[in-house]
Symmetry: C2
Amino acid sequence: MRWNKISDAVVRRLPLYLRVLDEVARVGETQMISSQELGEKAGVGSALVRKDLAWFGEFGKQGVGYEVEFLRTELKRILNLDKVHKVVLVGAGSLGIALARYNIRRFESDDSFSLKIIGLFDQDPTKLGRIYEGIEVRPLAELESFVRENNVKMAIITVPADAAQDVAMQLVKGGIEAILNFAPIKLNVPEHVRVASTDLTLELQRLAYYLSGE
Amino acid sequence: MRWNKISDAVVRRLPLYLRVLDEVARVGETQMISSQELGEKAGVGSALVRKDLAWFGEFGKQGVGYEVEFLRTELKRILNLDKVHKVVLVGAGSLGIALARYNIRRFESDDSFSLKIIGLFDQDPTKLGRIYEGIEVRPLAELESFVRENNVKMAIITVPADAAQDVAMQLVKGGIEAILNFAPIKLNVPEHVRVASTDLTLELQRLAYYLSGE
């Protein structure tokens, strides 16, 4: 892992800034952007924008702002997005397939998108051999060797809760360093592996808290 | 909105505790749980468990712990999950349909699950009238009135980025108070509306930061 001293809260905002810069570059009207404008579009205060970026270098000029293409290139480099990352997705259920379709189409249509699903895995024998967006569903038994042989470092888990820990351990054995987990359990993985959990039920339950009486 | 003084960080952990209690109740081996055990299973320190729960009342006994069924009932009440909440989903693409299927099947199979999608909406005329898990896809033009007439307070948005803000405003006009947003943009909504964003690309880009050199 890199730059351990920089907090994950900072790292979380970098892709937001990159997205704003991508959009500004796409529209192509301006070559400079102020921290105010960048912050406003990213939903972050301008002081925080300046502070976040200062962790990584001096990218802007006081009173002038940031050069859009330069900052964009730098952010991609910082986020490791200047090269393509291969990703495997485990769990070819409806959510998994929806994510795979979205990812693969985006990768094919967006030059600057650098995350590419190259393998789909499932344990259900009736799903094996099915092809989605050109990618065949493989058996779980091949997961670890596929990950190792293809030097895959990122994985998405969309299997049910009771299968997720086992899948995670196979991924780690194969060399995976980062997991996006949709299964509704907390994964136990070694310290060098980063897990991001997206738990839709937890999000909805949290939102319910804020509802007024009905 | 309720209990504004309690931070969202606390609220976010309550569904985690509830999930642990649901599982302990399902297994049925024990009627009491210590803050240590609850914390361990939720991935939270025991002191934080006690502190979080103390915001809402005195639920445990020192040296004994929490009565599982009692705390479960209380947490459901606190989270507003002691009654069914109707939800609309806007965007009947592959992700939207996957989420709807998952939600509706879960609602039908799990007595204690209280979030129920009752309406699907899309602007694509070729999708209108299709039925998923018994729910018909309706046109966006009917969204606001459907939300109002059915007294729906929660919504899930899975439309593309350029349509999401417009959809959010229609939802708010209809009376929606909480939105789970999958579109990759920041929604501008009135203060009384709570938005949770789940942005898969941002999560993956953040994870890429932590990869070692390849």
